[in-house]
């Protein structure tokens, strides 16, 4: 009952968000001076050739018509054709998005697995050696530029030690698996190719670590701060006074409450990871959305830019929805009031 009450308005909102985003992106990409036809046919193209290319792409029609056509096909689930790659935008996104998600999700999981315990222990042993180490790590994570740190780990593990690959998703000896989920870790296993799976794992290690490290710091600090707040609360003292064991109090009472503000952070972190992945993707030659979007912007590839923006805004709305649901699970108060 309450869950429907949260989900339905969100889905209605989703429609308006996507429509608004479509209008804004469309307007911006058409306000930029620059003729996509010139990019496709080349700078030197004759006036006739340019005219022909414009007609071919529907760029000769009034902007309002172009927008109506775009929205109409969007409602049919058609994101149009990329001006640059001449492939359907949906196909391009289906190729690149899973690569970014695979990297982004694994990094987030890794950042949480390390960041949360680190934050907890840092708070429990405030100002002790563990806290000092954790704080150093988190400052490093936040302040070290990804492109620099990325190059350092490639230099160390790929160039010097030669134990891990420094680029790509799979060793060249392996054929790219048939796309089912687009996640190589899953698709290779579905094909029963354990050696290709291992290659995919090895290729994920460095970029995942680099991307996780940047977010690790934020998560650690957030958890530490909220744990410190929670540990001051009366109910913690009461719990301890009533004879409950320290471990039970910390993990069952304190951590659960400290996690609530962190859930929002995790949602935002996922968004950050997707866009922080741009640099990581470039350094590790990871064929994800980052490279695709950057190239699309440089070449004024309207359909590709719009397609990405629409998909990304849907993603953000859904992530926020998931966060709200997660709140309900973590905090019974929100569940009852909601």
């Amino acid at each position: 009952m309450t869950i429907t009450r949260i989900i339905v308005p969100r889905l209605i909102l989703l429609f308006f968000v996507v429509f608004g985003v479509a209008i804004i992106t469309f307007a911006i990409s058409h306000l930029i001076p620059g003729d996509p036809a010139r990019l496709i046919a080349g700078d030197r193209a004759s006036a006739e050739t340019l005219e022909n290319v414009r007609r071919d792409l529907g760029l000769d029609r009034p902007v309002t018509d172009q927008f109506v056509i775009y929205v109409r096909s969007l409602l049919h689930g058609d994101l149009g054709t990329s001006l640059r790659t001449r492939r359907p935008v949906a196909a391009d996104i289906a190729t690149f998005l899973p690569a970014t998600l695979e990297l982004g999700i694994l990094s987030l999981v890794l950042a949480v697995l390390i960041g949360v315990p680190l934050g907890v222990f840092s708070a429990i042993y405030k100002d002790g050696p563990i806290d000092q180490i954790a704080r150093t790590i988190s400052v490093c994570g936040i302040s070290m530029p990804v492109f620099w740190f990325g190059m350092v780990v490639i230099l160390l593990f790929y160039a010097k030690l030669q134990i891990l690959p420094g680029s790509g998703r799979l060793a060249m000896a392996f054929a790219v698996p048939q796309r089912v989920t687009g996640f190589f870790l899953i698709d290779t296993l579905l094909e029963g190719r354990f050696d290709a799976f291992l290659s995919a794992v090895r290729h994920l290690i460095l970029p995942t670590f680099v991307l996780a490290f940047a977010n690790l710091g934020v998560i650690t600090r957030q958890i530490r701060a909220s744990m410190l707040d929670v540990l001051q609360e009366d109910y913690i003292r009461t719990a301890r006074a009533s004879g409950l064991r320290r471990r039970v109090v910390i993990f069952n009472h304190a951590l659960r409450n400290a996690l609530i503000p962190s859930i929002t952070l995790l949602g935002l972190a996922l968004g950050d990871l997707l866009y922080g992945a741009v640099l990581t993707e470039t350094i590790f030659a990871w064929p994800g959305m980052g490279t695709y979007v950057v190239t699309s912007i440089q070449t004024l590839d309207f359909p590709a830019i719009m397609g990405f923006t629409v998909v990304a805004s849907i993603g953000y709305v859904l992530i926020n929805l998931v966060i709200d649901l997660a709140y309900m699970l973590a905090d019974p108060q929100i569940r009852e009031v909601g």
Partner: protein
């Protein structure tokens, strides 16, 4: 219990590591790493050099550049002749060439390819401005009918767009697109290789065409890998995971030269970097102001400082390496007194101009800064305006700028690519005359040269036009760049051709460890 599981997985990973780490590519597989994924591999639409890499590997042309020269020799053609009016070119095809499905290359295929090119009318068709019709005379003879004499015709047959495509490709046509969608990532040619797989932004695999008429290539497979970051490409090369890397900045090239297993290829190219001066806008409509600017530039500083010696100063419009270049032609040099005198003569002082540039070429910003300092000495305050590259192109095409840097490479091996494109008022704006230059004498000379067939006569006309146009200083002639890439020393047989930047003779290259 739990821990022993993890131990097993860790052990498995370690084993996998020791087996496959730093396994160099096999001797018959060549790995090329570059910054960007080619947009398409369709000769009918592709206009980027990164796409040409694929097109020249997978397709043959009627003629091809001879070795390292800009001269053309028969490839699919056996011989050719032209009628007295210079309007009909008859080309006889050589026997034995086959597409990758085993079908023979015949006159019908040639007609199909050019009909397709002209019907698509995307960028590449612009190399054939006067092609009226292609006729099949007999299965091995084809006629090209032109609407007016066009001297560079034969050399235009070597451009990427003139690739001969298997007519069977029409089996893949969708909604009358002339198989455009299919040819984006597939090939249908008679070249030594064919595209066997293409993972966007990751890798493209080229395998041998089993029906290729020439000697079987030593390289069984060519893999093109996309790696955006130059340092990552460099590490791959040094570790032996890549055999060739492209887009090597001059500073990195210096460092790579120290490694004996690496060869840095730095060859004089026909790529020129110059600055458009808007001849329509005062005070740049005054030839003396344009000359003054040309005398105020520190050319040596640009060549030695910004380009670290990997370039030479331009001398006239036609670059060294192309016929029609004038080795004795006039070259502006840094002469501040002369520049100041010219400004005074023109009655100009306290001039305010804008230099509109983008980051498409990394040297444009430092060049702008150098110009800013130089022009300040002759009373010109130069503002630098950075815009997106698409915006810069649009502004240049519309003549909406004062000064703007440009880069130019020829599509076909003929001075027409510089002289007619840059100076003919019919090509004002985007097509090439971006300075909006108009000198009646120069116009008649370049137009006559374009319709004359005799090369000696044409050369004379172009040299005269070049002398006149250089005096007019419509552009700021800066530098002719070197083409730089790095390869492992084990890669043998590469032949550099200045017309084929980012294009490799894979079929005659090999690897020797």
């Amino acid at each position: 219990m739990v821990f022993s599981h993890w131990k097993k997985i860790g052990l498995a990973l370690l084993l996998a590591t020791s087996v496959s780490s730093s396994a160099m590519a096999a001797a018959d597989v060549l790995v090329l790493a570059r910054a960007e994924d080619p947009p398409t591999a369709d000769p009918g639409v592709e206009i980027s050099n990164s796409g040409y890499t694929l097109i020249y590997a997978a397709y043959e042309h009627l003629v091809a550049y001879k070795g390292a020269t800009t001269e053309v020799v028969p490839e699919l053609a056996e011989s050719w002749s032209v009628d007295d009016a210079n309007l009909v070119w008859t080309i006889k095809l050589a026997a034995g060439h086959k597409f990758d499905d085993g079908t023979a290359v015949d006159a019908a295929a040639v007609k199909f390819s050019f009909d397709r090119l002209m019907k698509l009318k995307a960028g590449p068709s612009d190399s054939f401005p006067v092609l009226k019709e292609v006729q099949v005379v007999d299965p091995m003879t084809v006629k090209f009918v032109l609407s007016s004499p066009f001297a560079p015709f034969l050399s235009t047959l070597a451009v990427s767009g003139a690739a001969i495509v298997n007519p069977k490709v029409m089996e893949h046509e969708v909604n009358g697109d002339m198989a455009k969608a299919w040819l984006v990532e597939h090939s249908a040619g008679s070249g030594a290789y064919r595209i066997s797989s293409w993972e966007r932004n990751q890798s493209i695999v080229l395998d041998r065409n089993p029906h290729f008429s020439g000697p079987a290539p030593a390289l069984k497979q060519v893999v093109i890998r996309v790696m955006g970051e130059v340092s990552a490409r460099r590490l791959q090369l040094v570790n032996g995971d890549a055999d060739i890397i492209e887009q090597v900045p001059v500073d990195q090239a210096e460092a790579l030269k120290k490694d004996p297993s690496i060869v840095v290829e730095s060859n004089p190219s026909l790529y020129v970097s110059y600055v458009y001066l808007n001849n329509k806008r005062p005070p740049l409509d005054d030839v003396r102001v344009r000359q003054a600017i040309s005398y105020a530039v520190d050319y040596k500083g640009i060549v030695d400082g910004i380009m670290q010696g990997q370039a030479v100063q331009m001398r006239g419009a036609v670059p060294d390496g192309m016929w029609g270049h004038d080795p004795a032609g006039f070259q502006y040099s840094y002469n501040i007194e002369k520049a100041q005198a010219l400004m005074k003569e023109a009655g100009q002082s306290n001039v305010h101009l804008t230099y509109t540039f983008s980051q498409a070429d990394t040297s444009w910003e430092p060049v702008g800064l150098a110009l800013q300092a130089s022009l300040a000495e002759i009373g010109i305050k130069l503002d630098l305006q950075a815009v997106a590259d698409t915006t810069k192109r649009e502004m240049a095409a519309k003549g909406n700028y004062d000064l703007a840097p440009g880069a130019w490479t020829p599509d076909f091996a003929d001075p027409y690519m510089f002289m007619n494109y840059w100076f003919d008022p019919a090509k004002m704006g985007g097509p090439g005359n971006r300075a909006f230059y108009d000198n009646a004498k120069v116009t008649s000379l370049v137009q006559e040269a374009a319709s004359t067939v005799d090369q000696a006569k044409r050369e004379k006309l172009y040299l005269e036009a070049q002398t006149l146009s250089t005096q007019d200083a419509p552009y700021l002639y800066l530098i002719q760049k070197n083409d730089i890439f790095a390869r492992r020393a084990a890669v043998q047989g590469y032949v550099y051709n200045p017309m084929l930047i980012q294009v490799y003779n894979f079929a005659t290259m090999s690897k020797k460890e």
